[in-house]
């Protein structure tokens, strides 16, 4: 039996290469950054207008809302929303996935590592600049307590893992449909809504917020950012993180199941 740390070593190398591969495309990154700011501004203007028109106290004040949407743009590219793409899907589509199978590598773990590398890249090259520039122009709140920040970091890492696991689950449909645009577009929109990406769940009507709570997707956006903003505190943080973990494991299992089903019915295109 191969020692565990060596196995980990291999997949960690996949994470790094996945990151490195994307470093090749710098102009695309700059263009993406512009898009991030465009959407950030739209969100901020709309909410500023809403808040100016309302006299009632809201669950989140304007600064918190702005911070929330800055964080949304920081993590947008990491999430399985519409427009999310996975290079591995392309490999399934054109059949080069077959080549991966000729290597002594666990495909699900490989794909997961690839998505994690992708997330690291976008966090560093898109997320960080977005955050730093936003601090200059908007009043972004920053957690005052170290423990809050640590809880946020843990929750964010879990959100990234969950995102990768969900992405694999969705995109493994490529084995059946070959084109995932439809499925990923549809599921992406639902996930985007229920994650709290468009409207923070704190502002939702109660019955809808209830549904969101039972769905896994709030774990991607609303859960970590509520911790960041200090809206989730104390024991609730542990519950929230526990829920994220549970969904993470469920989606990893689902993805693994779909992949193994997919491979067993694999008909490689062409070649």
């Amino acid at each position: 039996m191969r020692p565990l740390y060596l196995t980990f070593n291999v997949y960690f190398a996949f994470v790094r290469k996945s990151f490195q591969r994307r470093m090749q495309y710098r102009v695309a990154n700059l263009a993406g950054l512009t898009t991030n700011f465009f959407f950030l501004l739209v969100h901020i203007f709309v909410y500023t207008a809403f808040y100016a028109a309302s006299t009632e106290p809201q669950p989140l004040n304007l600064n918190e809302i702005i911070t929330y949407f800055v964080l949304c743009q920081v993590s947008f590219m990491l999430m399985p929303f519409w427009g999310a793409r996975s290079e591995v899907t392309q490999a399934i589509k054109d059949g080069s996935v077959a080549l991966q199978l000729t290597k002594p590598v666990d495909f699900h773990a490989y794909w997961f590592a690839d998505e994690c590398g992708r997330a690291c890249y976008f966090l560093l090259m898109r997320g960080c600049p977005t955050f730093l520039i936003s601090i200059l122009f908007f009043e972004v709140t920053i957690p005052q307590q170290f423990t809050v920040f640590m809880a946020f970091a843990a929750s964010m890492v879990l959100a990234i893992f969950m995102s990768a696991a969900i992405m694999i689950t969705i995109f493994s449909s490529a084995f059946w449909t070959l084109d995932t645009a439809g499925i990923s577009g549809m599921s992406g929109s639902v996930i985007m809504l229920f994650s709290g990406m468009l409207v923070p769940i704190a502002l939702w009507p109660e019955w809808l917020a209830h549904i969101a709570e039972w769905l896994p997707f709030a774990g991607l956006i609303d859960v970590p950012f509520s911790i960041y903003l200090g809206k989730t505190t104390g024991g609730a943080i542990l519950t929230a993180i526990g829920k994220q973990m549970m969904w993470c494991i469920i989606f990893l299992g689902l993805g693994r199941f779909f992949l193994s089903r997919g491979f067993s019915r694999l008909v490689i295109q062409g070649g």
Binding site: N9, G95, A98, L101, T102, K103, P104, V105, V267, I268
Partner: protein, 343 residues
């Protein structure tokens, strides 16, 4: 090394209805037909052999290769490579085989060759010393050092193929599967790759299974060929035997010194005549080459004479066009040869 017994693979192919309305109907009911991609194929390959696995497009070559490498699960039959069952022990099997699909690259498209190699070193856990030795050797033979730091997407096809083949051999596999390794390459690049394969085979006793449409590849590299057509095995044996089996007819070209009115010779047919140059077609079974030449020399004065064997390309063409005849002849004559091989 490789044992294949009664191997079959069937695919379901969905029938798509035509037209706008048809595509609607497709949503609710789909018809399919079963396609037999590989039909009851058996063979056995020993360590150190170089085998050409040939057949026309769609014959089932790649499907067989994919079953040998563990990508596809056979519908029925038995496969073992190195003692492993590829589709059950995919990862174990993968450690001991090298695979090159000529039409696709194993390397990470947007990383330099070196990075891909280092990643492979991790994947296969190749010790540093062994890795360095191999890279050095591949550089000496394939000259990969020149583009070692270049991203794969910027390589020429020849360079990419060299890098791909080197990558497949980094972990010293016992078996190398090559699917059209010289496709699209120029003459020099082809020669270089062939030489490399030959060297690897002799120096390291690597077993090589090669599919190709380039018959030069076969002639330069393979002693043994396996032919499949329409999913079924139709020949397995030495290249020379295949040639013998098929070349029932030969061509004799003669340049006569004078013009003769009657140049006909019993048991040989004139197929071509222009001035004093005449071509006869004859079958060595009816008249031996020596007797035929003797008969000609007795009656005529000649300037030049030559016997041509049909080249391998011609041979394969006849097989593809009519493999029934070959199959029959093969089962009659070389059946003994095959059983010998298997034991």
């Amino acid at each position: 090394m490789i044992e294949v017994e009664n191997l079959s693979k069937t695919f379901k192919v969905y029938h798509h209805r035509q037209g706008f309305f048809g595509s609607f109907v497709n949503l609710f009911s789909r018809k399919h037909r079963i396609v037999q991609a590989v039909d009851n194929v058996s063979f056995s390959i020993k360590r150190g052999e170089v085998v050409g696995y040939l057949g026309p497009n769609g014959a089932g070559k790649s499907t067989t290769l994919k079953m040998l490498t563990g990508i596809l699960v056979p519908t029925s039959g038995r496969v073992t490579v190195n003692g492993y069952i590829p589709h059950r022990q995919r990862k174990e099997n993968a450690k001991h085989i090298g695979v090159v699909f000529g039409q696709r690259s194993h390397l990470w498209f947007d990383l330099p060759v070196q990075e891909s190699f280092e990643l492979l070193q991790r994947i296969y856990r190749i010790p540093q010393v062994e890795y360095n030795q191999n890279v050095e050797m591949f550089d000496a033979l394939l000259n990969i050092g020149k583009f070692f730091r270049t991203p794969v997407r910027q390589l020429s096809l020849g360079q990419r193929m060299r890098a791909d083949i080197a990558a497949a051999l980094l972990h010293n596999p016992e078996v190398l599967f090559l699917d059209e390794p010289t496709i699209g390459l120029d003459v020099v690049a082809k020669a270089r790759i062939r030489q490399f394969i030959q060297q690897i085979n002799t120096e390291r006793q690597v077993t090589v299974v090669l599919t190709t449409h380039d018959l030069d590849d076969v002639e330069k590299l393979c002693k043994r060929v396996i032919l499949i057509d329409k999913a079924r095995l139709c020949f397995d044996g030495e290249l020379a035997a295949l040639r013998r089996l098929l070349s029932t007819e030969r061509i004799l070209s003669v340049d006569y010194a004078e013009t003769y009115s009657d140049i006909s010779i019993p048991q040989a047919h004139v197929t071509y005549q222009e001035g004093n140059r005449v071509q006869y077609r004859f079958s060595p079974e009816e008249i031996s080459t020596a007797n035929l030449i003797g008969a000609i020399l007795q009656r005529f004065k000649i300037v030049d004479i030559s016997v041509q064997e049909p080249d391998i390309e011609e041979l394969i063409k006849t097989v593809y066009e009519d493999n029934r005849a070959l199959e029959q002849r093969f089962t009659e004559t070389d059946a003994i040869d095959l059983t010998n091989r298997n034991t």
